[in-house]
């Protein structure tokens, strides 16, 4: 079937759409690293939705495009190349597919349309103060009372909780079983009584993450996805689907291109000739690595489409690309750091220095440090790789 798809024509179509339909002010946010928020994302999701491209990864019967993996990959690539925001992922890429796979018909009818159109905004309640890489140690408890669960506990690193309507949440419904088995997946409205959201101040000066406190929060049993105790399986399903995330190197390459333009702008003068040459060389080394990763990404997509095992490719891509992304961010920091790093945050302001043009490069650098920490830290990835390479 895939032989019938003209991928180059598809790429052209997507590019034309991105260039004509994505509003310039939205693309400018991406191009200048300003923080993406619901205010920016929503109108873009609306445009995609009205065009029938609201959910590239979903089956047609739920309003998805029905595209194959390669088409989705091309779509993501072109979006990055054109500075269109990557679609907000918590609904479309995370909980949406889980609901499609494991949710009841009632849940599908209730939750999928809002995700597709962008009306409902989701966030992920997984990590806890005591459960990071070791997620199965989570302790937030849900006690059954009739048709409701009463949820008590604390989530952390909850991205976008401050602008979300819903939180898909892993909770402990049993302490008797093996720790992975006593976990369930609940869909919790964030306006429910007993929920407090507090921002976490991060080193980049942006507000993405929060602590979410749940104090006797009552959640209808109808909001549980799948079986009680099945949450770990559904969470893993989600992670499995995300394993190809590293295959899309286009955003990193676009970031590199923007950094190259920054060097030309910032270090154009004769005084900076050598500095620019040194930084350009570092960018070139990063570009070589990203091109290698891009080739591996294509290999990974081909493997999935042909039903071959991915092996270590996802770990290799995650581990390698995250570090290269950081190298690129470092080059940008080195271009503007002398000027901007010392003036990061005005003493009389809550956020970063809004009066210093280009401060986002410093923020982007600080933020880039998370890439080797989240989604399976580099050390975890190395353990995974070594275990496979050594055979134990």
């Amino acid at each position: 079937m895939s032989a019938a798809i003209d991928y180059e024509a598809f790429r052209t179509e997507v590019r034309a759409f991105a260039e004509t339909r994505c509003p310039p002010e939205i693309r400018a946010v991406v191009a200048t690293y300003r923080k993406l928020s619901r205010k920016v994302w929503y109108p873009w999701q609306r445009i995609l939705f009205e065009h029938g491209w609201g959910a590239p990864g979903w089956p047609k019967q739920y309003g998805g495009t029905g595209w194959d993996l390669k088409q989705r990959h091309i779509f993501d690539e072109v979006m990055a190349e054109c500075d269109c925001p990557p679609q907000y992922h918590h609904g479309l890429r995370h909980i949406g597919p889980v609901i499609i796979e494991y949710g009841s018909e009632e849940q599908k009818g209730r939750f999928l349309p809002g995700i597709l159109s962008g009306e409902d905004w989701w966030c992920q309640g997984y990590s806890e103060p005591g459960a990071g890489s070791d997620l199965a140690s989570l302790r937030t408890a849900a006690r059954r009372e009739g048709d409701e669960y009463v949820v008590e506990g604390q989530k952390t690193w909850t991205s976008h909780a401050h602008e979300a309507d819903w939180m898909y949440t892993l909770v402990r419904t049993s302490k008797e079983a093996k720790k992975q088995q006593g976990i369930s997946l609940l869909l919790i409205p964030l306006n429910a009584p007993g929920i407090t959201i507090r921002p976490i101040r991060t080193i980049d000066g942006w507000h993405h993450v929060n602590e979410v406190f749940l104090d006797q929060v009552r959640v209808p049993v109808a909001n549980r996805v799948g079986e009680e105790g099945g949450g770990w399986t559904y969470g893993k399903f989600l992670l499995e689907r995300e394993r190809l995330g590293g295959a899309n190197v286009a955003p990193a390459l676009r970031n590199l291109q923007r950094t190259r333009e920054l060097l030309a702008r910032e270090l154009g003068g004769e005084r900076h000739r050598l500095k620019r040459a040194m930084l350009e060389e570092r960018l070139l080394l990063a570009e070589a690595e990203l091109r290698g990763a891009q080739a591996l990404g294509q290999e990974a997509i081909a493997a999935v489409m042909e039903g071959r095992p991915l092996g270590l490719l996802p770990s290799v891509l995650k581990l390698g690309t995250s570090v290269t992304f950081q190298h690129v961010a470092e080059v940008a920091l080195d271009a503007v750091g002398e000027r901007l790093a010392p003036r990061f945050r005005p003493t009389d302001a809550a956020g970063p220095n809004a009066e210093a043009p280009g401060i986002e490069w410093v923020q982007n650098y600080m933020y880039s440090r998370v890439r080797t920490i989240y989604g399976g830290s580099s050390e975890v990835q190395k353990n995974v790789i070594a275990k496979q390479l050594f055979g134990s």
Partner: protein, 363 residues
């Protein structure tokens, strides 16, 4: 089961080259004297010729196998994996590429009687005084250094750069040619060549002009690509052997492979290896798809080979501890080979400079 590397281009040619490479490496390691080593290499050169390796890429009408780049890559990959200490990239790839329009030479080349040294245009140390050049009276003067040589070279294939590019094929024993011989850091033979008023006969000049310069640059990129294939295959074998060493070497009552510091180092080697493999595959595909050499893809691959290859080689030496400093293990001979590959057909700064200059021109 521990890691096994996947060939860049699998098949019988790869297996054969890999087997022969290991055999030659093993034999050579047991011979102490230079004359004995030389004889060993010569014997194997002749046997490779009789196996048809040197004719793989030659057109069928010239008695060759009419093979593709993929066939060359299978040989280079196998040779790399086995650590074969002979100049496969130039003997099977670069030289036949440059001599493709010389039907009179091809049979001798294919059968191994012509053992040709390839001397690229960039091989002089001093740009002002040493660059080989033809005087108006037809005499050749200049000097080049560090040129890999096949055993008992019969000819020198010399690319002249500058205002009047030319391709020369000189008999190695022509009056005025002298050589000083060395072994490289990977143990393979090389030489410096000096030309002192060599009286070049008209028949030795195979071509002149810009077309020659272009063809020579393409040949160099082909050499760079095959070197990448050879080195990435060597890196795959090196990873296997390093893992094997760590699994079997006991210290303080436990296998070295139980230590996270070493396991993580190996994981990093693997990530570099995979990244390089991706780039090399992509460059091979691009080279197979179009006319000429995809110089940009090859330059990126060779640049990465400089970075990734050296990291892998150095890490392997580190992981082997004191044994990593000896010449005793095949693994360490592979590591040296990967280190040397950096300096063949343009080192990383050469290729970086090309890419940076192209970027500046485009901006």
């Amino acid at each position: 089961m521990p890691f096994t590397a996947t060939p860049i281009v699998a098949g019988d040619a790869f297996d054969q080259a890999s087997r022969i490479g290991e055999e030659v490496d093993r034999q050579l390691a047991l011979i102490d004297d230079p004359a004995g080593q030389h004889a060993c290499l010569r014997r194997h050169w002749d046997s490779l010729a009789s196996l048809g390796w040197l004719a793989v890429a030659m057109p069928e009408e010239a008695g060759g196998a009419g093979g593709t780049l993929s066939d060359l890559a299978a040989l280079a990959g196998g040779a790399g994996r086995g650590g074969l200490p002979l100049p496969i990239a130039s003997a099977c790839g670069v030289i036949p590429y440059l001599l493709a329009d010389q039907p009179a030479l091809l049979p001798g080349l294919a059968e191994g009687q012509h053992r040709i040294v390839f001397i690229p245009a960039e091989a002089a140390v001093d740009d002002t005084t040493d660059v080989p050049r033809l005087a108006p009276d037809g005499s050749l003067t200049g000097a080049v250094v560090g040129i890999e040589t096949p055993p008992d070279p019969t000819h020198l294939l010399l690319v002249l750069a500058g205002a009047e590019p030319a391709l020369l094929l000189l008999p190695a024993d022509a009056p005025g040619i002298s050589a000083r011989h060395y072994l490289r850091i990977d143990g393979r033979p090389s030489a410096d060549w000096r030309f002192t008023g060599v009286a070049v006969e008209p028949g030795w000049i195979l071509g002149r002009g810009e077309a020659v310069a272009r063809r020579a640059a393409e040949a160099r990129d082909l050499g760079a690509l095959l070197t990448c294939v050879e080195a990435v295959s060597a890196a795959g074998a090196l990873l296997e052997q390093t893992i094997d060493y760590l699994l079997n070497r006991m210290q303080f009552g436990v296998a070295l492979a139980s230590h996270q510091a070493l396991r993580h180092r190996v994981a990093e080697m693997y990530v570099e290896y995979e990244n390089l493999r991706g780039l090399v595959l992509q460059a091979l595909r691009a080279a197979g798809a179009g006319d000429g050499m995809p110089w940009r893809e090859i330059a990126f691959a060779k640049l990465r080979l400089g970075e990734a290859g050296r990291f892998i080689a150095q890490s392997a030496i580190q992981c082997h501890g004191g044994m990593g400093m000896t010449e005793a293990l095949p693994a360490i001979r592979l590591a040296r080979r990967i280190m040397m590959a950096e300096f063949e057909f343009g080192d990383r700064t050469f290729h970086a400079q090309r890419l940076l200059e192209a970027g500046r021109r485009a901006a």
